[in-house]
C-alpha cells in the first residue's frame, strides 16, 4: 500500500465529497496555493442558529488538497463559524491519516484556509506558518 496515496486519499481525490457549487449559500470564499496551482472555492449554507447545513467546494488541485478538503467538508455539518475558526491544522491532518511533508503542508491546509476564509469573510492565515522568530532557538536551527 502506498504511504501517501492510500486508497482513502485516491478515493477522495477521484470522487471528492460535496464537490460542486451550492446555488443557495450564505458564505463563500475562494483561495489558492500560489506555489503549485491548487485553487478552491467553498460555499457554506447556514441555518437560523448559524450552524452549517450545507457545504460544497469546487476547484482544481492535487490529490492531497482535494482529499483534505473532501474529508474536511464531511465534518462541517452542524458547526458554527466560531467552531470552524477554532479548528487547528491537526484536525485536517488526523482526517488525512498520513504523514504530510513540509512541502505538501499547504496542499493539506488549503481547504481549511478557504473554509476559515468563508467564516471570516476575508483571507485566513495559513495554519502551517509559524509566528515570530525566537532568538533563543537560533542555535538549535
Amino acid at each position: 500500500m502506498d504511504e501517501l496515496y492510500r486508497d482513502q486519499i485516491l478515493e477522495h481525490y477521484k470522487r471528492p465529497h460535496h464537490f460542486g457549487r451550492l446555488e443557495d449559500f450564505d458564505l463563500e470564499f475562494e483561495d489558492s496555493n500560489p506555489f503549485c496551482g491548487d485553487e478552491q472555492h467553498v460555499f457554506l449554507k447556514l441555518d437560523g442558529e448559524n450552524r452549517v447545513t450545507g457545504v460544497a467546494f469546487e476547484g482544481q488541485g492535487c490529490a492531497i488538497s482535494t482529499a483534505a478538503t473532501s474529508l474536511l467538508t464531511d465534518e462541517l455539518e452542524g458547526m458554527t463559524r466560531e467552531e470552524i475558526l477554532a479548528l487547528p491544522k491537526e484536525f485536517v491532518l488526523d482526517l488525512l491519516g498520513i504523514d504530510i511533508s513540509a512541502t505538501r503542508m499547504k496542499c493539506a491546509m488549503l481547504g481549511l484556509k478557504v473554509v476559515k476564509g468563508a467564516s471570516l469573510g476575508g483571507p485566513a492565515d495559513w495554519e502551517d506558518e509559524g509566528d515570530q522568530g525566537d532568538p533563543s532557538q537560533a542555535a538549535a536551527l
Partner: protein, 418 residues
C-alpha cells in the same frame, strides 16, 4: 538517432568526466541516485566554480574600489576581470555590463531607470504570452504608474511566438518590446535577431530575458540586436546572488541610477550629487564580489566546453526525451517539436495526476522536476492548464536519467490506478 547537423560540434570531454566535476550529482535521494532535472530552476555547480569561490574567500577577500592596500587591489582586479570575462562573452564593452543580483533585478533596473523616464501616458509596452513574471510584472508596475498599456504578443499552438500577431501589435507603436530568449516552460528558443529587427523597424527598443538562454546559447549582443539583455549566474552553473544586465552604452549613459548610495556617485555635497561613470553608476553599495568571480568562473567553464557543443548535445537529449515521453499514455507535452529552436525544457501534463503529485512520485525515484505555474501564469492560462510538471536539462544530464523520468511517470499512472 539522426544527427542534428552534419558538423555538430562535440563536447571536449565525456559526459562521465563532466559529471565527475559536480560533487552533488553523486548524492542519493530516497535510496536512488539523484537525477537532477530541475535545471530551469537552478543549475548545479562544477568544481571550477566552487573552487573559485572558495579561493577568493580564503585568499583574496577585501572590499573593492576603495582601498589602496594589496588585498583590496587584488579583489578589485579580480572583480573587474570578472566583468571583462562577461563583457567578452557577450561581445560587449565593459561599461555596458552591470552586475546585479539576478535577471529579475536586471529587468527591474530597466523598468525603473529606463521605463520611468521614457514611458508616459498612452505609451505601449509589448510583452509576450510566454514571459516569466520577471519580464511582465515590472512593466505592469510602470504601466500602472504612468498610465501606459501592455499588449501581449500571442503564442501559437506549437508554443512558438506568433510572429504575424507580433507584427500586428508592433503597428500600435510600442516603445518597448519585452521577450524571453528561451521560454522557461516551453523550451522555445525565440528568434531574437528577427524580433529585434522587427521591433527596431517599428521604433521600439528590445529588452530580452536571457535567464534560460545563459547556460544554453552563445550570446553576442550585436548579433542578437538586444538593447537590454538580462542574465543570471545561478542558472548557468554559477553561484546565486549575481546576475548581469547588458545595456547599450548610449542608453545606459542617458538613464538615471537605480540603486543610490556609495560607489555610484562622483561628488556628494549638501547642494549637489553627481553620478559616477558607467558601469559604477548602476552599482550602488558593496557588490557580491565573490559571487561575481564565481560567475566569471562559470562563464569560462562554459566557454571551455563550447556553447555550440553544449547546445547540440542538449538538442539531442531533448529529442530523445520527447521521443520517450510520447510512450506515456495520457501525457500532453507543451512546446515545439524537437529541433534547433527547442531547448532542453520539457513541460507536460499527465491526465489524472496533478503536477504536484507527479513531482512527489518522481522524487521517490530520485528524479527532481518542478511542478506549478513556473512564474508564467499568463502562459498557463494560454495553455489551458493550472500547472505543468517541468523537466529541464543541463549539460550533465544523460539519456539514462530521461529513462528514469519515464519510469517514474509510468509508476505514477500505476499509483493513481490509471
Amino acid at each position: 538517432m539522426e544527427p542534428t547537423a552534419t558538423t555538430a560540434p562535440a563536447l571536449p570531454r565525456s559526459l562521465e568526466e563532466i559529471r565527475a566535476e559536480f560533487p552533488i550529482l553523486s548524492r542519493e535521494i530516497n535510496g536512488k541516485p539523484l537525477a537532477y532535472l530541475d535545471n530551469g530552476a537552478t543549475a548545479e555547480k562544477p568544481l571550477a566554480v566552487i573552487d573559485a569561490l572558495d579561493r577568493f574567500w580564503r585568499e583574496h577577500n577585501a572590499n573593492v574600489h576603495r582601498g589602496v592596500h594589496t588585498l583590496s587591489e587584488e579583489a578589485t582586479s579580480m572583480y573587474e576581470d570578472a566583468r571583462l570575462a562577461l563583457a567578452s562573452h557577450l561581445g560587449a564593452d565593459r561599461r555596458e555590463v552591470i552586475f546585479v543580483r539576478n535577471a529579475t533585478e536586471a529587468l527591474n533596473l530597466v523598468a525603473y531607470a529606463w521605463g520611468r523616464t521614457n514611458l508616459g501616458a498612452g505609451d505601449r509596452i509589448l510583452v509576450t504570452e510566454m514571459e516569466h513574471h520577471s519580464n511582465v510584472v515590472p512593466w505592469y508596475q510602470v504601466a500602472q504608474e504612468k498610465q501606459a498599456h501592455l499588449d501581449w504578443a500571442p503564442v501559437t499552438e506549437e508554443g512558438r511566438l506568433d510572429l504575424d500577431g507580433f507584427g500586428s501589435l508592433l503597428e500600435r507603436g510600442p516603445k518597448l518590446v519585452c521577450v524571453a530568449h528561451v521560454s522557461n516552460v516551453l523550451g522555445t528558443i525565440n528568434p531574437v535577431p528577427e524580433i529585434a529587427r522587427m521591433a527596431h523597424d517599428a521604433g521600439a527598443l528590445v529588452v530580452v530575458d536571457g535567464a534560460q538562454a545563459g547556460p544554453k546559447l552563445e550570446l553576442d549582443m550585436a548579433e542578437l540586436g538586444a538593447d537590454f539583455y538580462a542574465l543570471t549566474s545561478h542558472k548557468m552553473y554559477g553561484p546565486t546572488g549575481i546576475g548581469a544586465l547588458f545595456g547599450r552604452r548610449e542608453l545606459l549613459e542617458a538613464m538615471p541610477p537605480f540603486i543610490g548610495g556609495g560607489s555610484m556617485i562622483r561628488k556628494v555635497s549638501k547642494e549637489l550629487i553627481t553620478w559616477a561613470d558607467l558601469p559604477a553608476k548602476f552599482e550602488g553599495g558593496t557588490p557580491a564580489i565573490g559571487e561575481a568571480i564565481g560567475f566569471a568562473a562559470a562563464i569560462r567553464w562554459l566557454e571551455d566546453l563550447g556553447l555550440p557543443a553544449v547546445h547540440a548535445a542538449e538538442v539531442d537529449l531533448t529529442a530523445y526525451a520527447l521521443e520517450r515521453i510520447a510512450e506515456v499514455p495520457g501525457l500532453t507535452v507543451f512546446g515545439p517539436p524537437a529541433g534547433e529552436d527547442r531547448g532542453g525544457i520539457v513541460s507536460f501534463a499527465l491526465e489524472g495526476v496533478h503536477a504536484h503529485d507527479l513531482s512527489e512520485i518522481l522524487d521517490r525515484h530520485g528524479v527532481a522536476v518542478r511542478a506549478g505555474h513556473h512564474c508564467a501564469q499568463v502562459l498557463m492560462q494560454r495553455l489551458g492548464v493550472p500547472a505543468t510538471t517541468r523537466a529541464s536539462f543541463a549539460v550533465y544530464n544523460t539519456q539514462d536519467e530521461v529513462d528514469r523520468l519515464i519510469e517514474g511517470l509510468l509508476d505514477a499512472r500505476r499509483v493513481f490506478e490509471l
